[in-house]
Symmetry: C2
């Protein structure tokens, strides 16, 4: 990637008023985030929040027996580490890089200082947190009621919404971990989507061929989350 990096590739940062943005800028540190990197581990004190630009981060709960389930996904529309300003400092879930890329990080204390100015950043962060609540709620609903095919569509759309390209580097094994299902189930579901001409799969690379087709097949959960996110964060320009 030969592109230049800028914090305003993150939509929360880019929708800050110039003053607030300028105050934050010197403290934002560009970090590279390789696939699989763990940003925060369950129950461990967080030192930074991360504002993804090109990376995507999964919030994943890992059970005692090792099984896992994705709770939410965060890309350039949001921030990883809301529990820092919410006051808890830790969460029971893990944050893991689902798609390699970059993010800007900010030390926890600096973020909290900024948050308690009760200015535009606080408003943005709280509204973003509400959209995260919606995403988690809808994940619960989707896990309860929808088929694996539908859930895979939702997961793919959520991912492609947060990616600059139409290609996602991701094995079926990893998708299965995220969705909390067997790898074989993903093979079958992905096969269905490929047969329908919506995606193309090749050994760890997923190409989006027909977004409208995915949207036609996905359950309502995707639309609910997207609409709510657009409503709560209208300044955040959709791609």
């Amino acid at each position: 990637m030969s592109c230049t990096h800028s914090p305003d590739q993150n939509h929360l940062l880019s929708s800050l008023p110039p003053d607030d943005y300028a105050r934050l800028l010197p403290n934002l540190e560009l970090v590279n985030m390789p696939l699989g990197e763990i940003l925060y581990e369950s129950g461990i004190q967080m030192r930074h929040v991360h504002f993804p630009t090109t990376a995507i981060v999964s919030l994943l709960y890992v059970m005692e027996d090792g099984a896992s389930a994705e709770i939410a996904v965060v890309g350039n529309e949001g921030v990883v580490g809301v529990s820092l300003f919410m006051g808890g400092e830790t969460t029971p879930s893990r944050a893991i890089v689902q798609s390699a890329g970059h993010a800007y990080r900010l030390r926890g204390q600096l973020l909290k200082d900024e948050f308690y100015r009760a200015g535009p950043l606080q408003h943005l962060l709280l509204r973003y947190t509400q959209s995260l609540l919606t995403q988690m709620a809808q994940t619960a609903v989707c896990n309860r009621h929808h088929t694996l095919d539908q859930q895979l569509c939702r997961w793919l759309l959520l991912s492609f919404d947060r990616l600059p390209a139409n290609e996602l580097i991701m094995t079926q094994e990893l998708i299965a971990n995220m969705l909390g299902v067997r790898r074989e189930g993903v093979t079958e579901a992905a096969g269905n989507l490929q047969k329908a001409g919506l995606i193309e799969y090749r050994r760890g690379h997923i190409q989006l061929l027909d977004r409208a087709g995915l949207e036609a097949r996905v359950c309502e959960c995707y639309e609910v989350v997207k609409r709510e996110s657009d409503r709560l964060l209208p300044n955040v320009i959709a791609r």
Copy 2:
């Protein structure tokens, strides 16, 4: 019920410093909440927040086809209507009274004024919201991985934790709506628990007989939510 009512039956209110509590007090209005009452409907502007004392409120998502799933449950440990201070004003879910009782309500504008003083109430509300995030996340995990028997245990324990008595007025049909499963499934799961001597069921009345037995049978999700809630809100006295 011949008991007298007081706002400090709600743990969030009761853990406010005297000054803040006193400032809120004249604006708190006791309301009776009968079973099934809808406090907020999906997408509708909220006028008040509710601090339950003896009532329990379910946050429920209702799908286009009428199927539903509970996202979280709120009792005297919390507050219904976090999206008022989070900035969204509405949510895609419905808040419905799951167990009749009382709550104190506060006009939205007054709550927001108080919230933006950035004092102890703000801290409490944000920490409570984080515990709500955890509850939703764990609901998603539980829906994905655990059996109906386990989920029913979790649901019962969450309910009895928020009730003054050992009896819950609730039909299997309603529980099925909350859990997003068939009523027959609840009949079977409840039958198992009854056979094991953990609860006694009789036509809309559930009696808790053996809490330890339920705790032995429930999945880890219950404990995760409870521990996180205790950690985030230590002033909130457990029953």
